[in-house]
């Protein structure tokens, strides 16, 4: 990153980032060493620090800890530092790259996944907190040859151009339709207002989500008729 407060010599007056690492136990240098050693992959098993207890509560980290997730109905495990976001866990550790990293600050929607039934920004949730909750990503819907109706509606209405924002929009739309199968246009706008597209596919997106809703209504009518 190397930006903003870091290394600017602006806010802290010190140019070295190392000096700010003193929150880690021991010397600054040892702290830096410890943090890095525990960062997964490097020298496996070399530094499994005993968890510290503070005020009667067991602490996790700063090194990697074993985590367990329920993603798209499957149990997945990974050893991750507490600082790893759900988005980085999915993309870099669990090979689920549909959720995209764009702003990484919870302002664009490209990383939208569904956690416990609700659309959330995966970049703004720590992986450690997402344990034990049902996590849904686009990979859990239909594959290219077995698209679900919502996905098929995205294709039919060309609700994507470069496609980089698409998985986020699909999940935001799914979260809407899961709760409200027959949304009005205003509901669609509201549900998709946390996502941005740069190519400009909003017209197709409106049609895709409303179209899925209508197709669904048609199927229901048929079922009851």
């Amino acid at each position: 990153m190397g930006k903003k407060a870091k290394n600017t010599g602006e806010s802290g007056g010190r140019a070295s980032g190392l000096s700010r690492r003193d929150f880690l136990r021991g010397s600054a240098a040892a702290g830096a060493l410890g943090g890095a050693l525990l960062a997964g992959g490097e020298g496996a098993g070399a530094a499994v620090a005993a968890p510290r207890r503070l005020a009667g509560v067991e602490l996790a980290g700063p090194g990697a800890v074993a985590m367990s997730f329920r993603i798209n109905g499957k149990r997945r495990q990974a050893s991750l530092e507490p600082r790893v976001t759900l988005l980085d866990a999915l993309r870099d550790h669990l090979d689920l790259t549909a959720a995209k990293k764009v702003c990484d600050r919870g302002t664009c929607g490209a990383c939208t996944v569904i956690v416990a039934g609700q659309a959330v920004y995966a970049c703004s949730v720590l992986a450690i907190e997402a344990q034990g909750k049902a996590i849904e990503t686009v990979e859990g819907l239909g594959g290219p040859d077995k698209l679900q109706p919502l996905q098929a509606a995205f294709v039919a209405n060309d609700a994507q151009q470069c496609g980089f924002c698409t998985p986020g929009f699909v999940m935001a739309a799914k979260a809407l339709l899961d709760r409200n199968p027959h949304p009005a246009l205003a509901d669609v706008h509201r549900a998709l207002s946390g996502n941005f597209c740069r190519c400009g596919t909003y017209a197709g997106l409106r049609q895709a989500v409303l179209g899925t809703s209508r197709a669904d209504a048609g199927a229901e009518d048929g079922g009851h008729g």
């Binding site: 005020a55 996790a60 090194g63 507490p82 990484d104 609700q118 959330v120 970049c123 703004s124 979260a175």
Partner: protein
């Protein structure tokens, strides 16, 4: 972001003890939508993150009766917007909550986090602090201040308070419960905020180790309220000016009025002059002309920086529209 230790206490007491154990090095994690972004930008660098979400006691939400609304700090903005009790007893609050950010944020952001979120000032977010100075001058005054304060801006702080809910809540007389090393206290929500006077001073009055645990809102009890936000995009955009107006109407007369502005000053800004103007008026005398005068009164003493003169107009209009909407004189939109 920098690495940290992570704790997930089960009780408020544990959380408070954790925070007190390493003062200055710990941060409270609720929804995380603000804190994690600040940590990624290096603006916040906690060594210990105390996650509150395992504390069931902070999740309660109840509305109604003489006690009014009590929302645990972990109640999400979406819950606040959707809760049948809140919608019944505080429709204006539910509506305002439903306008916060976008759906993904409302789903995780909490009441406590909304009230304690850090300012959006781009100098602050870029790592220059809340009272950014260069060569003895304010970077905000010398720089781009199009979103900065028009009131309470005698310096050195020029950022604006970010919450769009706090002006309304303050106008409604809300209080917050605060837990800390010395136990629990309850303060008026307005008392949670202050204007920093020097670098390093926080904009919240919380003592080290203290956590907001609940929001308490007295019953509307016949008061009429509205909150009007002016923002450019329809969603996921910050308000440029917010005005909350609460009118206590008794026998067709305004017994008391509260007018609180947001996004115009480093703290939610009570507009006493506008309140004075409205107090004692006959309810049916509240028309566009009076509302306009209230707006005028609310921005008395406003001072424009180089790029934010327009915000004085926006604050004025927000007050006018909130007054009219609260009085039932115009469509309650915005």
């Amino acid at each position: 972001m920098q690495s940290f230790e992570y704790a997930s206490p089960a009780t408020v007491d544990q959380a408070v003890r954790l925070l007190a154990a390493e003062p200055g090095k710990s941060a409270v994690l609720a929804g995380g939508s603000d804190l994690l972004a600040l940590m990624k930008d290096g603006v916040e660098r906690p060594g210990l993150l105390v996650n509150l979400k395992a504390i069931a006691a902070l999740r309660g939400l109840r509305s109604g009766g003489k006690e009014g609304l009590r929302a645990g700090a972990l109640v999400t903005i979406d819950q606040l917007a959707a809760d049948p009790g809140v919608r019944r007893d505080y429709p204006v609050l539910a509506t305002a909550a439903g306008h916060v950010a976008g759906p993904q944020i409302r789903n995780v952001a909490t009441v406590g986090g909304n009230l304690c979120q850090r300012p959006r000032c781009w100098y602050f977010r870029s790592g220059y602090g809340l009272v950014p100075q260069r060569d003895g001058k304010s970077m905000v005054v010398e720089g781009d201040n199009r979103y900065h304060a028009i009131l309470g801006n005698e310096g050195p702080a020029y950022f604006v308070h970010p919450s769009t809910l706090s002006p309304l809540l303050i106008a409604l007389g809300a209080r917050v419960a605060v837990h800390g090393p010395r136990g629990e206290r309850e303060i008026e929500l307005a008392q949670l905020y202050r204007t920093p006077r020097r670098d390093g001073e926080r904009e919240l009055t919380l003592a080290p180790g203290e956590v907001v645990t609940a929001l308490l809102v007295p019953p509307l009890a016949g008061r009429r309220a509205w909150s009007y936000e002016i923002r450019q995009r329809t969603a996921l955009d910050w308000s440029l000016a917010t005005a909350a107006v609460v009118l206590d109407l008794q026998e067709n007369r305004v017994l008391a009025a509260r007018v609180v502005l947001g996004q115009v000053a480093p703290v939610p800004w009570p507009a006493a002059a506008a309140e004075d103007l409205l107090r004692g008026q006959a309810a049916d005398a509240i028309d566009a002309a009076l509302a306009e005068r209230a707006g005028e009164a609310a921005v008395q003493g406003a001072r424009a920086l180089s790029r934010n003169r327009y915000k004085i107009q926006l604050a004025r209009v927000a007050v006018k529209r909130a007054v009219l909407a609260a009085a039932g004189q115009m469509a309650q939109s915005g």
